[in-house]
């Protein structure tokens, strides 16, 4: 007899399909397929009824930290490296995605008859789905752990608010009521829990938002719809606690916030990307995403942003940055990931080696992707330079 499946899991069709969105929406990349489009298979046309990232727009903060419901998808992406008081080292990723199911003007289905005085439409009706990933890299113990949450944007189960910023799914949250704007400085709280690990962190931006691409308009392919609005806060001061197996460790460190929203999808020929977010200890920071084409070559729409120690920014084009892989790592299923890089930016006289703090920082979600803490060492203008950061690798795991 066939195994009797349970209703709870069997009707979870949406999880499978929405799950396929997650690797499609890491930071640094541009537009992503919606939750219903398997990545790499289809190029979703510009979604009718949604706003599109077609031209440069003014960014207004703190308003733009909040949600942009006119667009189909959006994310808040926080990664960071932490040091505990006793010297232990951690990496963390907490990311929230918002996917709109229907454009704002399209009404949701409602019961045929409305009666005065009775509530007929269900509060569970929702036009948005929220997805979150939470990963912890425990360097001392050699552990990498991740968890995900999916929730409809209804009933206060999940949602995003602008001012002050508050994005949440269940009890995982970014921002929230504690966000304070004191003397021009924002503070955001970060909270998430998974089996064995929890984080309770407070983030304080150390730099103003950096607009990536053309003043925040980031084009990822030739198709006009394959673009998004994209900004980063490359340095946030982090203080708080990591709870490991219920025991609290006081931590501090540096985080990176990536924010992106749009309504399109990846280009047809693009198969994945490598995203680097490196914070160097002279106060500068480098963000670069290398888009990979199906034939294995690098896409010319690859791009990045350099943030100088004194706060000046410089956009980086595909030709500005040379990356070579120095090492490889293979997961248990035989998928090969790069696990060490040599990055050169001749125009900045920058020469960096990048190495993961643990080889296995792969999220076994559907689909799989690698997102992990890295160490940086190298030179700029012949001066030795160290640093830390996060790297994201998408499109390496074979679909099965």
């Amino acid at each position: 007899m066939r195994c009797a499946r349970s209703l709870h899991s069997s009707a979870a069709l949406a999880v499978v399909l929405a799950g396929s969105a997650q690797a499609a929406v890491p930071p640094g990349t541009s537009v992503v397929p919606g939750p219903w489009v398997p990545p790499g298979k289809v190029t979703a046309p510009a979604a009718p009824g949604f706003a599109e990232a077609l031209s440069v727009r003014p960014f207004v903060f703190p308003r733009d930290h909040g949600p942009h419901p006119a667009f189909r998808q959006e994310w808040w992406y926080v990664t960071g490296n932490l040091d505990a008081a006793d010297g232990e080292r951690f990496g963390f990723e907490l990311t929230f995605f918002r996917f709109a199911l229907v454009p704002p003007e399209v009404p949701l289905p409602a019961p045929a008859r409305e009666e005065p005085g009775t509530q007929v439409a269900s509060a569970w009706r929702s036009r948005e789905i929220y997805l979150a990933h939470f990963a912890v890299t425990d360097v001392a113990r050699g552990r990498f752990r991740f968890a995900q949450k999916l929730e409809r944007g209804a009933l206060g189960l999940a949602g995003a608010l602008g001012e002050p910023l508050h994005v949440w799914i269940d009890d995982w949250s970014l921002g929230g009521g504690e966000a304070v704007a004191a003397a021009g400085a924002m503070r955001w709280r970060l909270h998430a829990t998974q089996q064995g690990y929890a984080i309770e962190l407070e983030l304080a931006p150390q730099t103003p938002p950096v607009l990536n691409g053309e003043n925040g308009l980031s084009r990822k392919a030739d198709e006009p719809s394959a673009a998004s609005y994209y900004y980063s806060i490359p340095r946030l001061d982090v203080r708080g606690r990591v709870l490991r197996d219920g025991r609290a460790l006081t931590v501090s460190g540096t985080a990176w916030l990536d924010r992106e929203w749009g309504s399109g999808a990846l280009g047809v020929q693009q198969s994945g990307w490598d995203w680097f977010a490196l914070q160097l200890n002279d106060g500068s920071a480098l963000m670069f995403y290398a888009l990979r084409r199906r034939d294995g070559s690098r896409d010319r729409h690859s791009a990045g942003t350099w943030l100088g120690a004194s706060g000046e920014t410089r956009p980086l084009a595909d030709v500005d940055v040379a990356i070579s892989v120095t090492r490889e790592w293979r997961n248990a299923r035989g998928d090969r990931y790069p696990a060490g890089w040599h990055i050169r930016v001749p125009s900045l006289a920058l020469d960096l080696g990048v190495r993961p703090v643990l080889p296995d920082q792969e999220l076994g979600t559907t689909p799989r992707y690698w997102e992990g803490a890295v160490d940086v060492s190298g030179q700029r203008d012949a001066r030795t330079l160290g640093g830390r950061g996060y790297v994201e690798l998408v499109g390496y795991a074979a679909e099965r």
Binding site: R5, L7, S10, Q148
Partner: protein, 845 residues
């Protein structure tokens, strides 16, 4: 020994008909047991699979009263969990009708459900085939998924569009995907988003339950304690399995009764095997006597007879198992229909054949045959070789045994009486008493036959020598016919008993329906009796009550509420003066009880009073929306509609404690002179286009109730016909053998001048007499059986008091069966004896 075996084989070979009939009898008995097992096991399995499918990895559930749970509790548990990794999922459930089929409608949140099953972390759930867009699940109106098998049964076309009716309102629905790998547990399930389910069921803001997965360790127990402390009043936390068990336990009394009926068939089968084996031994008395004289030991003879019986038993059991598989398939439909009529909705599409029941049947068949053969085997082995040769000794002994059996019968009857009086609530003791009583009938039947035959012979002594001879012949044939007659007597008694019980029950129900249906017309929302969605639209109620000619109306809401004693049916009513006469109190003073009722006390129906041992002035605690509250029982009333019993409460009281203002049914009292048909038409018109309504006159409801009643007893009928069939086969077999054996006697009578027709008449007369004798013995026994069934079994199983109603029709089936079996048994011997070649017949000596 080989000589023994050869003799044995030759004998069996020469008497194939007898062998076959014994085999059929045993096979029927075993088959009935297997069939009942299969039918109940299939229903249980379907129920469990459906429960497993719906519950998944859930170990606990939070449930509320009839109105369910405020969905804000779920949001609170999600966003401020008492423990960070708490696994929980919301469920809204109810019933929907597609075509004529009642389906369970389940609303879920796919994300929460997947996480509950996957262990909280983002495990990969499997896909639903053919769903192109998740968007459809969340945003397309009427999106549902179901198993491919269910979709096929509902004849849903390629475009997926179909109509679905909930609580009388029709909604368009679209099948957006088929659940991949759906086991049979998904039969009869329609799964949709929780938002859609809330809207269809009219339950916005409410959840039916919250499923939880909590580890079964100390930390889990601590978490449960924290959760319990956190729950608002009126909500409870149950283990999921216990809830399922409680639901299925509703059918306990029903399935126990089925089992008892199937045992009855086997009991009759046992007697037949006994008859066949002892008859086979008797017929071979000469052979065995000779073999004993030639040196065969007692042990060898014993082994021979028991060996034969074992082979017979094995063959019968195997045939019985096969037969049971066939009958079982038929019974599955009947059993599931009864469960659906009376208890809960379950779709039984797969027949499950429990291996244990097959083994049980095998063992039962074998044991039955061996036990039945033991007495004759011991007897023939124990007798001295020369005695075995003397036929007269045997007959004398049989008569002696028959006399002794009267004593046995009396003590069995006494045992039955003791079993009943020594216990008060035990259903098992009731069945023991019933079986003792039936065995007592079997034991007394041979003696009754003998007495009747003697009496008859004495009466006709001076009018017809042939008749006298024929009757005396019967009296002296007990060694061969006694057992078959006993089996027939027992089956007839059971048949009469069941017929009287069903008849009495029917009459009580009919009277009760006449008394209690006081309103002229009843209007209700369609749906499963106490489900959430079953409520009348307030505007529809207003429109209905505006119909001219209405003198008064009562309102009712039927729900299931939790209590310390498990879920109870609660019937909340607002009565009008005319309604009061519809209640017949079996305990408590009506005037006082009604006064208390109006002041907030409850009335309980007979089955509930019996089940919970409650009497007037006792208190019954019910879980209200504000937590448990003890209600005073003001009285106990007669009610046959619900075998689990119900609580009757004033509607105002119910609303106050459960804050549910729904109304599921109206009782309409018409002004004098207003025709019920015209009013029903006007009511129908008033509700038209808003909500499908069940509008029925009290006569319609009475008729419908009687129809369901008859349906419920179809299985009983099937089973008692099976038992009767076993008995009839036994009688035919025994009489046939007996008549064939006395060919010489008949030849003698013929040679003395009896015509061929006269001979045939004689034979037919004899067998008919035996049938009638068995019937006469069975009638008083049947009455006793009926008393046991109504006053002991029914009372103990359900708590109903049923007045005994006797009618000639309750005996006719038994009469026909007795005559048919007896005459059928006589036809062939009669025909043969009429054509008998005298010389050949005489030479047989």
């Amino acid at each position: 020994m080989s000589a023994l075996r050869a003799a044995s084989l030759r004998h069996l070979w020469r008497h194939p008909a007898q062998l076959l009939l014994a085999l059929v009898g045993l096979a029927l008995g075993v088959g009935t047991i297997v069939a009942v097992d299969i039918a109940t096991a299939s229903a249980r399995r379907a129920f469990e699979l459906s429960l497993a499918a719906v519950n998944g990895a859930a170990t606990q559930q939070i449930v509320g009263g009839p109105r369910g749970i405020d969905e804000r509790l779920y949001v609170q548990l999600r966003t401020q969990p008492p423990e960070p990794l708490l696994r929980l999922a919301p469920v809204v459930s109810g019933y929907a009708t597609v075509g004529k089929r009642v389906m369970q409608l389940i609303g879920i949140d796919p994300f929460a459900s997947a996480a509950l099953d996957a262990g909280g972390a983002g495990g990969t759930a499997f896909a639903v085939e053919g769903v192109g867009e998740v968007r459809a699940w969340f945003t397309a109106p009427g999106s549902v998924v179901m198993s491919a098998a269910t979709a096929q049964q509902l004849h849903i076309g390629a475009d997926g569009h179909f109509a679905l009716e909930v609580g009388g309102v029709t909604h368009p629905a679209t099948l957006i995907g088929r659940i991949a790998d759906a086991g049979p547990g998904f039969d009869g399930l329609i799964v949709t988003d929780i938002a859609q389910a809330q809207e269809w069921l009219g339950a916005t803001g409410r959840l039916s339950r919250i499923d939880l997965h909590v580890a079964a360790d100390a930390a889990g127990a601590a978490l449960l304690a924290r959760l319990r402390a956190l729950l608002p009043a009126g909500l409870t936390l149950h283990p999921t399995r216990a809830a399922g068990r409680e639901t299925f336990a509703m059918t306990d009394a029903f399935t126990t009764n089925l089992r008892a009926m199937s045992l009855l068939a086997l009991l009759v089968g046992t007697l037949l095997i006994y008859g066949a084996v002892s008859f086979a031994v008797l017929q071979r008395r000469t052979t065995i006597g000779v073999l004993r004289a030639l040196g065969a030991t007692r042990r060898e003879v014993l082994a021979l007879v028991l060996g034969e019986a074992a082979v017979l038993g094995l063959a019968g059991a195997i045939c019985g198992m096969l037969l049971g598989l066939v009958i079982g398939r038929g019974l599955v439909g009947l059993v599931s229909r009864t469960i659906n009529d009376l208890y809960f909705v379950v779709a039984v599409n797969e027949v499950s054949v429990p291996l244990t029941s097959l083994l049980k049947a095998l063992a039962a068949g074998l044991a039955t045959a061996l036990a039945a053969a033991l007495v004759p085997a011991l007897e023939v082995a124990a007798s001295a070789p020369q005695l075995a040769l003397a036929r007269s000794v045997l007959e004398r002994r049989a008569q002696h045994v028959a006399r002794r059996l009267v004593l046995v019968s009396l003590s069995l009857a006494l045992g039955a009486g003791v079993a009943v009086s020594a216990s008060t609530h035990s259903l098992l003791a009731g069945f023991v008493a019933l079986f003792l009583l039936l065995l007592s009938v079997a034991a007394v039947t041979p003696a009754a036959l003998r007495a009747l035959a003697h009496g008859g012979a004495w009466l006709v002594a001076h009018t017809s020598t042939v008749a006298r001879l024929a009757l005396a012949d019967i009296a002296t044939s007990l060694s061969r016919t006694g057992v078959a007659i006993a089996a027939l007597g027992m089956a007839l008694a059971a048949m009469i008993g069941v017929a009287i019980m069903v008849g009495s029950f029917r009459e009580s129900l009919r009277q009760w329906l006449l008394e209690s249906m006081r309103a002229d017309i009843y209007v209700s929302a369609p749906g499963v009796s106490d489900s959430l969605e079953r409520r009348l639209d307030p505007q529809v109620i207003a429109a209905l009550l505006a119909v001219p000619g209405i003198r008064a109306h009562s309102e009712g809401r039927r729900v299931t509420v939790d209590s310390a004693s498990g879920p109870l049916d609660l019937n909340a009513v607002s009565l009008v003066p005319a309604s009061y006469a519809g209640f017949r109190f079996t305990r408590g003073d009506p005037a006082r009880a009604w006064a208390q009722f109006r002041a907030g006390a409850i009335l309980i129906s007979e089955p509930l009073a019996w089940r919970l041992s409650l009497a007037p002035d006792d208190r019954l605690s019910l879980d209200t929306a504000a937590g448990p509250r003890a209600f005073t029982v003001a009285g106990v009333y007669r009610e046959y509609g619900n075998d689990r019993g119900e609580v009757l409460m004033d509607l105002r009281e119910y609303r106050q404690w459960w804050s549910d203002d729904g109304i599921a049914a109206l009782g309409i009292y018409l002004a004098p002179g207003v025709s019920s048909a015209a009013a029903a038409g006007a009511l129908r018109a008033a509700g038209h286009g808003r909500q499908a309504l069940l509008i029925r006159s009290n006569a319609d409801i009475r008729e419908l109730s009687m129809r369901i009643f008859e349906r419920t007893f179809v299985i009983t009928r099937v089973l008692y016909w099976l038992a009767a069939g076993v008995a009839a086969v036994g009688l035919v077999s025994a009489l046939l053998a007996w008549e064939l054996e006395r060919a010489r006697e008949l030849a003698l009578l013929r040679s003395l001048g009896l015509t061929p027709a006269g001979t045939a008449l004689l034979v037919m007369g004899q067998t008919a007499f035996m049938g009638v004798a068995a019937l006469l013995a069975a009638i008083p026994a049947g009455l006793l059986t009926a008393l046991t069934l109504t006053d002991v079994i029914n009372r103990r199983a359900f708590g109903w008091q049923i007045g005994l109603h006797l009618g000639a029709e309750q005996f006719t089936n038994a009469l026909w069966l007795a005559l048919a079996a007896a005459l059928a048994a006589g036809v062939y011997p009669a025909w043969r004896s009429a054509r008998l070649a005298l010389a050949a017949g005489l030479r047989e000596e």
